[in-house]
């Protein structure tokens, strides 16, 4: 038992290590090498230069505020929504699923641009509206600020947090809450003293994923931070990379190394906080139907809050996207703008054979990549949760390795790595790169689902004579269906819009949607960009519906 677990652990360490360590090692080599590639004479100059930059301190302060602010906001919002959806009698629960998933499909660049159109201080649509309505002298909001960046990044990270927290909340053992109620604690107190502490692994996982993601985020800092002259790490790295023509990725990697160290430290902190995972085991055999809390008079106000949030997160940005895809150029809505609407951008995008090829490739990568990725994630999550040895700790950190490296740099790491292999310039390189980089999207939801499956359920299968594989297939996987669906959705919708790796690794024949998007964005063609963005959303929605449907069928089949 322990031996086979150790074997499994070490083989996973080898696989995941191979996937994630190679590009990072290439970057590490690059950061210590003279010249512009991964191989050169040893030098520490890049570190000296990178870390003696006087601007760095300011950048770090901004980054810390930005990252903590957005992760806290995203986690709190996700908790709020997950609790309302899974535990209360709030109406229109279907809305929550939509709310949690749609923003994930919007390319981050477009989401940020939408918010600039809504809340820029000069003529942002919402600002103008408020200014006129309240007879103000100046625009009430400025999206080009640290607060604006935090808001938009939090909204972008919210779906990930929700998809991790909601399944945990749904399979929570009600007895724990009920006993708190019996001992005289009111709903609120129960929530604070029992529900949240028991959900600690899922909450921490969501928070840490948010931290890592916002550290690596580039869209929000570049679209909203740069005009507001708020420099964070991602834009600082961009500055290092774009200044001059002989781009020195080694120097950027030198800065990236400390981001990496921060993230890996966070993972260890997380493991320490959740060390006694058995304490939180909640699904046992005695049924798992969460009780519903009557909201009473708060039902409608809370629903109004959710409706407002969905307006902010979905309706407005998607409406802006739709609108932008119809108007000939960037216009403030007006009678003239509506008169000028046409399908021109749509025709341009759909008539382009490259777009169709990109569409095919992206679909292939999303479905194939998410499936393979989830398969690997099931094993990795199993080991990180159920086998708590040093090796499993290493494994967990490994999954975060390329994920936590700033996006604009890790792509080059993968290029430096893949160019040494025959996979270079093939779809396989993209597939492997995607899985390696976004493995946490698969592992995190799976892990928080795993934490809740009592080890006896698995052990009894082994004692019954089932092999580990059979146990995985017949016992563990069916119990994990909600986690698996979450993981698949997260990965597939990420892969549909993946940009950072694609832009480096995509070649003629292996074009993907995001590369098309980037091309339009470099030319400032927001109309075509929006049309393609909506196509992406439609594809992702279809995938999500399909995944949810399959998940439900799978669950039903065994009951």
């Amino acid at each position: 038992m322990e031996k086979s677990r150790a074997q499994l652990t070490w083989s996973l360490v080898a696989i995941v290590g191979f996937l994630t360590v190679c590009p990072v090692v290439m970057l590490a080599l690059g950061s210590f090498s003279q010249g512009l590639t991964a191989f050169g004479d040893l030098t520490f100059d890049k570190y000296v230069q990178a870390y003696t930059d006087p601007a760095l301190l300011d950048v770090i302060v901004n980054t810390v505020i930005f990252v903590l602010g957005s992760s806290v906001l995203a986690t709190v919002l996700a908790l709020f929504l997950a609790y309302l959806n899974t535990r209360t009698n709030i109406p229109f629960k279907g809305l929550f699923t939509v709310l949690s998933i749609v923003p994930m499909m919007i390319p981050h660049l477009l989401f940020s641009v939408s918010w600039a159109l809504l809340l820029n201080p000069t003529n942002g649509m919402l600002n103008t509206l408020l200014k006129n309505a309240l007879a103000l002298d100046a625009a009430p909001f400025n999206i080009y600020s640290l607060e604006g960046m935090i808001l938009v990044e939090a909204l972008l990270d919210l779906p990930v947090a929700y998809l991790i927290i909601a399944p945990a909340m749904a399979s929570f053992d009600v007895a724990l809450e009920e006993s708190s109620r019996v001992f005289g604690a009111a709903t609120w107190r129960t929530l604070l003293r029992v529900t949240l502490p028991v959900l600690r692994p899922a909450i921490l996982a969501a928070f840490i994923l948010g931290v890592v993601r916002s550290l690596a985020s580039f869209a929000v800092p570049s679209v909203l931070g740069m005009p507001g002259r708020v420099n964070v790490l991602a834009t600082h790295l961009y500055e290092m990379i774009s200044l001059g023509f002989a781009t020195d990725y080694g120097k950027a990697a030198a800065v990236g190394m400390s981001v990496l160290v921060t993230s890996v430290t966070l993972i260890y902190v997380y493991r320490a906080f959740t060390a006694e995972s058995e304490k939180y085991v909640t699904i046992s055999s005695r049924g798992y139907r969460p009780s519903v809390i009557e909201l009473g008079g708060a039902r409608l106000p809370l629903f109004a809050a959710v409706a407002f949030l969905s307006l902010l997160m979905i309706v407005l940005p998607v409406a802006v996207l739709l609108y932008t895809s119809f108007v000939p150029y960037t216009m403030v809505p007006s009678a003239r703008a509506f008169a000028a609407m046409s399908l021109k951008h749509w025709h341009d995008v759909l008539d382009d054979p490259l777009s169709l090829l990109a569409l095919k490739n992206s679909l292939l990568l999303a479905i194939g990549g998410a499936t393979l990725g989830v398969l690997l994630s099931v094993f990795v999550a199993y080991v990180t949760v159920k086998v708590r040895t040093r090796a499993s700790g290493i494994l967990e950190s490994l999954t975060f390795l390329s994920f936590s490296f700033p996006g604009i740099v890790i792509g080059v790491g993968f290029m430096w790595f893949f160019v040494q292999t025959p996979l270079y310039a093939t779809l396989w390189a993209l597939l492997i790169g995607y899985i390696a980089t976004y493995l946490p999207y698969g592992v995190r939801p799976m892990a928080s689902a795993f934490v809740q499956v009592h080890s006896h359920l698995e052990e009894s299968s082994l004692v019954c004579g089932a092999s580990h594989l059979t146990t995985m297939r017949r016992i563990i996987v069916p119990l994990l269906v909600p986690g698996i669906v979450s993981a698949w959705i997260l990965m597939a919708s990420m892969f549909i819009r993946e940009l950072t790796l694609s832009v480096v690794l995509s070649r003629p024949g292996t074009e993907v949607l995001a590369v098309q998007i980037l091309k339009f964005s470099d030319d400032g063609l927001w109309g075509k960009l929006s049309a393609l963005g909506i196509i992406m959303i439609v594809i992702s929605t279809t995938l999500v519906i399909a995944a949810t449907f399959v998940g439900m069928r799978f669950k039903a089949a065994d009951n």
């Binding site: 590639t37 159109l117 000069t122 679209v223 005009p227 781009t247 000939p328 160019v419 590369v515 470099d522």
Partner: protein
């Protein structure tokens, strides 16, 4: 004397034609050509090339910050698939220094200005020209700047959008170009830069996002590229007709030294520099090209003076980027 000249020219042309024929046959035998470029929206030329020559062209678009990294990584690993590379001159200079470029003086560049053929590896064919683009519904042509100095006028306060002068190489080069070729003295130039900074321009990451705020009316004027007047039509954009010349970093094209399809590469470069391609580039994409007599269909551009910026080293760009960061550091 004159007859001799004509005869010689005819002879050369005939020879060239024969050479063309055999080169094209060899290219067809190779079947394809791979093209790495930082220029966008050139798919129509790629398509036309394949139709006209029967050689399949694969176009990979690589943005400037990744261009050098990608090509030298592939070259060092013996995996460079590009037969032809196109990028700003400083980028190709870096590749040339590493031996990635082959010698190929294309006959198709015959009528180009002398400086377009600066050596026999790369041929300059266009200028990434920078101009002042304004929203003609918000700004009357008469109120548009007449000279660069006018941008420092406080009436443009909070109304300018530009790429971040601390990190956008083309904008940095443009500002230095102004110093060296337009302004009479460094002091006068510095006054202009400081005045521009005092007007608190909004910064974006590159030229790409500069027109959108002007189109929508968020800002009134952009330090941007006049080609957007073509690509973003019917947006209400116009360019400021300045008494001073427009400046830009030259674009160049070259054949790679270990090209897997060397003949197809030459055919491609010839085709690229031909009148037909350059007309497409000017007409469809609004590019400023060096082929004689071809201008982008931007009103007034055929009479404008457009000059290449001297090639700047990375050290200079970094140094000035740092300077501009300080000058523009206003909150």
């Amino acid at each position: 004397m004159r007859t001799l000249f004509v005869m010689a020219a005819l002879l050369l042309a005939a020879q060239a034609h024969a050479a063309d024929k055999s080169l094209l046959d060899a290219a067809r035998k190779e079947g394809r050509v791979a093209f790495y470029a930082n220029i966008t929206a050139v798919e129509p030329i790629i398509k036309a090339f394949s139709v006209d020559t029967g050689v399949k062209a694969d176009y990979t678009r690589i943005a400037s910050p990744k261009f050098v990294a990608t090509t030298i990584t592939e070259f060092d690993a013996n995996r460079l698939s590009a037969d032809v590379v196109q990028a700003p001159v400083p980028v190709l200079e870096l590749l040339k220094a590493r031996g990635i470029l082959a010698r190929y003086p294309s006959p198709a560049a015959a009528g180009y200005p002398d400086w377009a053929r600066k050596d026999d590896t790369m041929t300059l064919f266009g200028i990434e020209y920078v101009g002042l683009i304004f929203n003609k519904e918000q700004v009357k042509a008469a109120d548009a700047p007449k000279r660069y100095q006018d941008l420092a006028d406080p009436k443009w306060r909070d109304k300018i959008v530009m790429a971040n002068p601390a990190n956008h190489p083309s904008t940095i080069s443009w500002l230095i170009g102004l110093k060296e070729t337009v302004f009479k003295s460094d002091a006068e130039w510095m006054k202009f830069v400081q005045g521009l900074a005092a007007n608190r321009p909004m910064f974006v990451a590159s030229f790409g996002p500069t027109p959108a705020p002007v189109e929508s009316g968020e800002k009134a004027i952009a330090i941007s590229m006049p080609k957007y007047i073509i690509t973003k039509a019917p947006a209400p954009l116009d360019w400021a007709r300045l008494e001073q010349p427009l400046l830009g970093t030259p674009r160049a094209i070259a054949v790679t030294s270990k090209a897997p399809h060397p003949n197809a590469a030459r055919v491609f470069v010839d085709y690229w520099l031909s009148k037909k391609s350059m007309e497409m580039l000017a007409k469809d994409v609004g590019e400023y090209v060096l082929a004689p007599g071809i201008y982008p269909p931007v009103e007034g551009m055929s009479t404008a003076r457009v000059l290449p910026i001297r090639e700047l080293s990375d050290e200079e760009i970094q140094k000035w980027g740092g300077e501009f960061k300080k000058i523009f550091a206003l909150k």
